[in-house]
């Protein structure tokens, strides 16, 4: 995890459920040169991943995994969109436009 970029600003929630990390973290995953900047990421339930487009063209990040279903839509360079992972499991993340772009998020 040392190599991962993530925001250290952690909001410690006092009213979270016992299954959720008390200190939810925010991780940043870039989309650069038609690839995710990380191929695999391990996070905890309640953490957020911010997907930032660093390419000069649009990406469309999504997942159809049972553990987390989301579609962030298309967005341009410099824009980041966030997903909070609220259940454990393996999440396969893809770009709809560029199917070579895949990564796995393990939510513990």
């Amino acid at each position: 995890m040392k190599s991962l970029k993530f925001f250290t600003l952690i909001v410690c929630l006092s009213s979270v459920s016992v299954t959720t990390s008390l200190c939810a973290e925010v991780f940043e995953v870039g989309q650069k040169n038609k690839a995710f900047t990380q191929k695999a990421l391990v996070i905890k339930v309640g953490d957020t991943v911010s997907f930032k487009n660093e390419d000069a063209f649009f990406h469309n990040v999504f997942s159809l995994s049972d553990a987390k279903l989301f579609d962030l839509g298309s967005y341009p360079q410099g824009v980041a969109r966030d997903v909070t992972f609220d259940a454990p499991g393996e999440v396969e993340v893809e770009c709809a436009v560029h199917p070579d772009m895949t990564m796995t998020i393990t939510v513990q």
Partner: protein
């Protein structure tokens, strides 16, 4: 591969025995050079990511051999692989027609009109995803699809295996190519894929210019290449990217056919993500002069028509790719881009038909 008339400079129907063009292998997707950082001088280091590797990668369990390629060629050209014994793979993927059929959309069994244009076989071996909607990844996975599709070759696999297993010529060819392996549909697909990976275009005027031949492209074609990669002008390489002039991605281009009732949803049938409605895989532009008409619906007869479509940014704006934008190009600039596209054509290589085993 002696039956192939070869010109080393051609878009090689590459023989197995090392007759490929004289470049060392380059990693296909390794380059991170940005188009905006390129120096438009023949042979410049910043251009080298546009060169294709000598050969496409093959799966570990289907490494190419001369016997496998020869068998695949026989199967590719054999009409007895279709239900009526009158259509081969080459019926639609004809080497004389850019390994396509020159029709707006293909014609299948009983000459039934198909929904989409026949994609060229050229350089599909370099692509990590196949077909207009990307429903198959490898050529091995793809090969049996058209053979068994009722609208296309309409062949029952049991009948196919009976034919191949009772034909002594094919029995021997399979034994030579895949010794000790039972003759299965998957083995048929492997042989065809092995042959398809030899259909390569990587020695065009553009390739020779990238390698350092300053005379391989004229001044207009170099101008066209600059426009091609300029995001504020042609904006072409945003999708038609190095080295195979495709991002292997999916885009809705705003074609008129998407505005019709019950349009072809394309990639959405495989990935039900909103932006994929009406999106289709980016085709290679290599040999583009030999593969008209254009787009997945064959709606553009000429490269001029293609440029006109892109200049207006598509005609149906619903769900159009955000990577597509109206272009500010003069008539001269549009002509320059077309001149560049013509530089993606390699010398024609004749393909000699294989002898097929009768019994």
């Amino acid at each position: 591969m002696n039956d192939i008339k070869k010109t080393l400079s051609g878009w090689c129907v590459a023989g197995f025995a090392g007759i490929y063009c004289m470049m060392s292998a380059l990693p296909l997707f390794a380059s991170t050079v940005l188009d905006g950082q390129m120096v438009f001088k023949a042979g410049h280091a910043s251009l080298q990511h546009w060169l294709l590797p000598v050969t496409p990668e093959s799966p570990d369990d289907n490494q190419p051999t001369a016997a496998r390629i020869a068998l695949g060629k026989q199967l590719f050209f054999d009409p007895r692989l279709s239900g009526d014994s009158n259509m081969s793979c080459a019926s639609c993927h004809h080497p004389s027609l850019g390994w396509g059929d020159a029709l707006p959309t293909g014609r299948g069994a009983k000459s039934e009109m198909l929904a989409r244009a026949t994609p060229t076989v050229i350089n599909t071996g370099y692509n990590p995803i196949q077909m207009w909607d990307g429903r198959k990844k490898t050529l091995e996975e793809q090969a049996l699809g058209p053979i068994t599709a009722k609208q296309e070759m309409n062949m029952d696999l049991t009948v196919l295996l009976d034919f191949l297993k009772t034909n002594t010529g094919y029995q021997q060819a399979f034994a030579d190519a895949y010794a000790g392996q039972p003759l299965t549909p998957e083995l048929v697909a492997k042989a065809i894929a092995s042959y398809e990976r030899t259909v390569i275009s990587r020695n065009s005027d553009f390739d020779r210019w990238v390698q350092g031949d300053s005379k391989a492209m004229n001044a207009q074609q170099v101008r066209g290449f600059k426009l091609f990669v300029d995001p504020n002008k042609g904006n072409c390489s945003v999708c038609h990217s190095a080295p195979n002039f495709t991002d292997n991605g999916f885009h809705n281009l705003g074609l008129a056919s998407f505005g019709e009732e019950n349009p072809d949803l394309g990639r959405y049938s495989e990935k039900p993500i909103r932006m994929m409605k009406g999106a289709f895989k980016t085709p290679t532009l290599r040999e583009i002069t030999r593969t008209a008409p254009y787009f997945h619906d064959g709606s553009a007869k000429t490269l001029d028509a293609v440029m006109t479509h892109y200049i207006v940014g598509g005609v149906v704006k619903t769900n159009v790719s955000p990577n597509l934008k109206a272009l500010t190009l003069t008539a001269q600039e549009s002509a320059d881009i077309i001149a560049f596209l013509q530089a993606l054509e390699s010398p024609f290589v004749e393909v000699t038909l294989p002898q097929l085993p009768l019994h």
